[in-house]
Amino acid sequence: MTDKHSPDKKTSRRKPSKPGKAGKHVTKSSSRQDSPGVLRRLFLNKISASVLLLVFLLSSLYVVYLDILITEKMSGRIWSFPSTVYARPLELYKNKAISIEDISSELDLLDYRKVNTRPAKPGQYRVYAGAYIELISRDFNFSDGFQASQGLRIKLQNNYISRLEALNSNQVVDVFRLDPMVVAGIYPKQQEVRQLIQLEQVPDDLVLALLSVEDRRFYQHWGLDPRSIARAFMANLMAGKTVQGGSTLTQQLVKNIFLSADRTLIRKINEAIMALLLEFHYDKSTILETYINEVYLGQHGATQIHGFQLASQFYFSRDLNRLSRDQMALLVGMVKGPSWYHPRRHPERALERRNQVLALMLEKQVINQSQYNLYAARPLGLTHKPKLSSNRYPALVDLVKRQLQEDYNETDLKTAGLNIFTSIDPIIQEKAEKSVSEVLPRLERSQTQTAPLQASVIVASSEQGEIQALVSDRSPKFAGFNRSLDAVRQIGSLIKPAIYLSALQYPERYTLASMLKDVPLHLKTSKGDVWSPQNYDGETLGEITLFEALRDSRNIPSVRLGLDIGLAEIADTLHNLGVRRDIPTYPSMTLGAFSLSPLDVANMYQTFAARGYHIPLRVIREVLDKDNQPLTRYPLAFSKTLDEKSVHLVNHVLHEVTRSGTAASLQRILPLRVAGKTGTTDDLRDSWFAGFSDEQLAVVWIGRDDNSSTQLTGASGALQLWGDLMGRLPINDLSLTPPAGIEQAWIELKSGASTNKNCPSAVKLPFITGSVPTEKAKCDTGGLFDQIKQFFN
């Protein structure tokens, strides 16, 4: 930094100082003579030193800043694990109702590989003779213990498992759980999908191929590789443009995580410093593992494909450790330019690149010549449909997240690597999605409206209240407004079973044979207006039995009954049924003029399906930490909130609704015993159906987002979708076994009096013991038809 033209410098050169007095003298003399110059020199030296110090300090600070950046981001990358949401494991056992197609579909969703010969490896299956499935399951760590891979042979007959046996010994197996499907990952970033894999699970051949292509001296260098840089420099110089990169894997990782793709000198310097720092902090295995999980390998819509494991799923629909070497070579080759070598968009370019990688693998003796010949001749072997299991069922996963957020914070969900086991049933979910996709367009065919219909479907197990499927959009994969949870709509006649249940809890006052008035009703509201409820058909029938009033969903008798029982009591019944919202107590609430979400309705009808036991609907079974240690269990919990006998009476009528009431049209599409209730709101804005079999409860809502008319009733809309869905499920006739304390009696419908089975209009109805009407009907056998009927009876 000293000025070479300064006289001071010359002077000092002319009079070299020697040690000793003379020197001392000369120095003193010189100092005295050139004191202004010396001062200036000292001053300049001080400035130089200060500038140097400042530069050093600033550089140090910058390096410290980069260091903090690296350690913070890397620790986040390395130690944060997304949570994984699992579906229920499919239980296999003799007499399970399931079709061969459903088992195959489950195995496909589980990414088992279909083979034509007897399966030889875990994760393979074959279907043969139209009645057998052979498979080798994968190992899985369940919360109650490790289940080792096992070979199984399943024999199916008439959509039932007729035999389950071990593949090798042919010995009967009583019960077996398949490994559960991964439904979704809960990731730190929304658009960045990743499936983490540990280094020891990564096939050695992939690592060797990657290092052969991208960084041969990875284990020798310390972040930068001068040899590679020199080689790249020479190659680029010779070519007159950039043809080769000298970046190490560490530099690439730094660039991917921290820096932009700009080719500026500053970025390059940063990259070099950070690569050194990274190597200083972390060992080679950590860096390699992070690279393998971090590397960008393509785009799918708005979703970035990061990491070899996810890329393997995306391009080949299988785990990384199940790829063949040519498939590994393709992925490794893509690192150089994921868009340029995208195998679906540029298959020829990708094939050429793959074969270049194979050649390098041959050169490095990862493969031999005959293997090279074999692999290089193969096609790319991509799956046709990209499968991303990041979030297969967005609305369901939203429900899972919301339930988890009651016990876990957002950060834990995204970074603690929780294993969340749920009741999601992929077979039912896929069928529910299919029903929505097929039935809605059918319903729209005769419509004049242009706004599309929307739908929500919730399916739960009847006895356990476990949510198995949930669809919240006509495009089920669309992760938008979750109508099943958040669309709060008027429920119309779905309220009626709660009114009748309230009444039937007083057997001394009300039975199914009680007569209700179906005559015009005018009520003065608090505002002074007059409210006159109407029946759907606009007619009044005089007097009808309570049984008929509910079966046929008559409005006027229902309002009268509700007012008689008391609106507060009906609200109490709704709460006992599981509705958690506030219920208004104005007269029109008896016709369902208040709003609930489909999930609220499902909670309400669950209690009917479970015969008076209220089971809060749940989707999570248990949560394990990343080491598979149990954290929280959500056991089956329920309480008997309603009298089983009264619920049985209502359920009996709900079955009649589907046989001869407002949902009788169901018989055409689902010839099975089920129970349910239609619901329609003013101006046909909402079309509802809630119903159940012994196995499943399902609630369907159809409406429009702008709340305009659907032009559908509960029966012509939601019921059609419900019937289509239930027809796809392996359900049996509803058993409707009466609980203790129920007796049956024949009733004449026109009078509600006791009669005998030979009488016309006689129906057999259940009664709480002791409440059978004592009044006897005069059996009317006057008509010829009645006499003939009596004769045959």
């Binding site: 239980e91 056992y93 003799k94 197996v173 009583d174 269990r633 056991p635």
Partner: protein, 147 residues
């Protein structure tokens, strides 16, 4: 409605429960053996004791018998949480067998969770067709849960 996966606080109760269950099982050894289903193969666990002091129905399907036997074994191996998981599996597969619900009721009673014991025993009763011994076992659990 959930509970943390920890029964440490109930260890003393659990030990007492195990001892009493063992004594009851010994007294009723003649009728407590669970017959293995005819078609059960290598998968059937070999439990020698049953949680219930009442013999299970002989008409139970092999899958339910297998899982209940496994749950019995887990319970007596002091793996109570696993026994609950196993019984919940059985409930999902065939919910209408009262023996499963009674086992759950018994386990919850031993864990001091009287409300759950009460609900499970009631639910078991709702599925009982003809099994007076199981019903009286449930009724005892219901009565003791209300004390």
């Amino acid at each position: 409605m959930r509970y943390r996966w920890s029964f440490r606080s109930n260890q003393a109760i659990l030990q007492l429960a195990l001892i009493s269950a063992l004594l009851v099982s010994l007294l009723l050894a003649g009728c407590s053996g669970i017959p293995l289903p005819a078609d059960s193969g290598q998968q059937a666990p070999l439990a020698t004791e049953s949680i219930l002091p009442v013999a299970d129905s002989k008409e139970l399907p092999a899958v339910i018998q297998n899982l209940m036997t496994l749950a019995d074994q887990q319970y007596f191996d002091n793996r109570v949480d696993d026994a609950i998981v196993t019984l919940e599996r059985a409930i999902r597969i065939r919910p209408r067998y009262p023996e499963i619900w009674s086992r759950m009721a018994y386990i919850y009673a031993q864990l001091g969770k009287q409300d759950q014991a009460y609900q499970y025993a009631q639910r078991s009763n709702s599925y009982i067709n003809l099994n007076p011994r199981l019903k009286s076992f449930n009724d005892e659990l219901i009565a003791s849960s209300q004390r």
